[in-house]
């Protein structure tokens, strides 16, 4: 079962001194996330946004209790940073970095699995527990504490749908961005399992896109009866052309595999309400709840 966050989760930011790291540390702090330390090799001893910076996680842990890590480190160094977090027993490890080589992601996911660590991403907007804590880059204002859990492969489309859910007064519980790369730590199924057991989640929005077969497998899982809560979905990429990568490294229709149609059909067959417009996901959930 994956491990997510709440208001008590103590977080280290790896790559805190970079422009994105600094910017989002500020926003996460404002949201209420307990950021206790930052790590940037060579910058140990300084402060960033009022947070002490260390050269290594090991040193940060000598003076701070840390549970989880969020990574803004540039792609060439991201695998090292993530393995450092895994080795330091931090969980979850949220990898925001985009552009990590697939080979590095394969290594990371395999090592994390041995260790039982939850990897969120790479190339993810992160995760949020509405009203409590966010480890990610999502705009806080679109989320409001409520009953809907969200799982998404994309970032901005996830905020789009969250905003609709909030506007209809439903609000969100825990929301997880899986990441847009071909190889990521979490699958829809992992998060669905967690949502099934989460008392704060009453319904789920599943946001998929072209490429791979994670949505089809989620549909199979739902059909199997292991997920019993109301669920609505949106799949991006109906207008996509085969063979072209649509922005995300993982968003590509290869041959007959990975098309939006195949995913939409699989989910509909599993009894999931699939919207033609992103806003319809929220409307469907309101009906279902």
């Amino acid at each position: 079962m994956p491990r997510f966050i709440d208001r008590d989760t103590r977080v280290v930011v790896q790559g805190i001194t970079g422009s994105q790291g600094e910017f989002h540390t500020r926003l996460m702090k404002e949201y209420g996330t307990k950021i206790v330390a930052g790590v940037t090799p060579g910058r140990g001893g300084m402060e960033e946004v009022g947070i002490p910076v260390f050269d290594t996680i090991v040193e940060a842990k000598e003076s701070h209790e840390i549970d989880a890590s969020i990574i803004f480190v540039p792609a060439p160094y991201a695998l090292d940073a993530a393995l450092e977090a895994v080795e330091a027993e931090l969980d979850p490890v949220v990898v925001i970095t985009e552009g990590i080589p697939v080979r590095d992601s394969i290594q990371l996911v395999a090592r994390a699995k041995l260790n039982g660590t939850t990897i969120v991403g790479p190339n993810t907007p992160g995760l949020i527990k509405a009203g409590e804590s966010k480890m990610g880059i999502m705009p806080a204002q679109v989320f409001k504490k409520g009953d809907v859990g969200i799982i998404s492969r994309s970032g901005t489309l996830f905020y789009e749908i969250a905003a609709h859910i909030t506007r209809l007064g439903l609000g969100e519980s825990t929301c997880v961005g899986l990441g847009g790369d071909p190889v990521v730590g979490l699958e829809f199924i992992d998060v669905l399992r967690w949502f099934e057991d989460d008392p704060e989640t009453k319904a789920v929005a599943l946001i998929g896109e072209i490429g791979g077969d994670a949505e089809e497998r989620a549909a199979e899982f739902i059909s199997g009866g292991e997920f019993t809560k109301p669920i609505a979905a949106y799949i991006a990429g109906r207008a996509a052309v085969p063979g072209k990568r649509m922005g995300h490294a993982g968003a590509i229709i290869q041959g007959s595999s990975g098309s939006a149609e195949s995913k939409i059909n699989a989910l509909k067959k599993a009894g999931v309400s699939v919207g033609d417009l992103p806003g319809q996901v929220a409307e469907a959930l309101r009906e279902l709840l």
Partner: protein, 380 residues
Amino acid sequence: MKLLEYEAKDYFRKYGIPTPEGCMITDPVQARMFIEKLGKPIVIKAQLPVGGRGKAGGIQFADTPNEAKNMAAHMLGKQIKGLTIEKLYVEEKLDIVNEIYLGVTIDRRNKSHVILASSEGGVEIEVVAEETPEKIIRHLVDPVNGLRSFHANLIAKRLGFKGRKMRQFADFVMKLYSLADEMDAELTEINPLAELEDGFIAADARLLVDNNALFRHKELEDKLLSSLQGELTEREMEARAQDLTYVELDGDIGIIGNGAGLTMATLDTVMLYGGKAANFLDLGGGATPERIEKAVKFVLRDTRTKAVFVNVLGGITRGDHTAQGIVAARQELGSVKPIVVRMAGTKEKEGRRILKKAGIETLDSMEEGAKLAVKLAEGS
């Protein structure tokens, strides 16, 4: 990044994978010199980053020096799928006993490398997968332990090889996997991998390197753009040179979004309202005002676009930056094409203020924006 056959074979040799004797040429005289030195019939292959060259006449044979020179002269400068043949690869013709397929690629579902092997070489592996899937051997590589020799032996065994041939083929598999792993290959394949009387040899070579890994393979970085010819349209090549994530489509509404999912959903929504997108342009995360300006200019300059829809929902991308970029692009081009902007999220208020000052109205929802963009494109 797709390497040409001769480039891939250079890497194959580096990893000790047997390849036929051959060389890349650009002049017909070199073909004659090669066959004279070799003293055997040769095959002449067009070096282009597109598939299906065989059917298009891109693979020819020659038995004598004169034939080689004439054939090379005939091929150079000809076009296949819109690309001009500038390079040829000349290589000894093999006495093939049997054609095998061997490839290494990424298995998304299992999050690992997968080795694919089949006794049905020489035909497209997709066709084999479709018609006789039982003839493909799949071996998932454990990312922690890697591929070990006993795995390779087993693959060779399952293909039906015994004794010395089993060891030879297993060695081939080990070397190809090392290359795939160390070269960050999205795909490397040999089709056909030729079985000879006394061993195996890579008659063809394909190597696709993960673009995200080029920082580890500096020698390839310069070749990236030229490797995309044939795969990308002219406009996509230009976008690529400007470092924009762009896919050309055939409609008349320019689409710019931030984030792949939202941009795709924007295309889908425009389509749902009866419009057609001219492109997909994903600003990615954290775009600066300069990057946004560049993107808006790129889409505005496209003569096919009748209206532009910018859909930005800020996380890492800031509304103020987006607005600055749009305003700057419009001013600099003096463009009168209608621009519809939908903005929400980080620094939204600041962004809207900047756009309002410049006389550009913003809409609250993607649906409204898409509808308006479709209407404006129809009306112009």
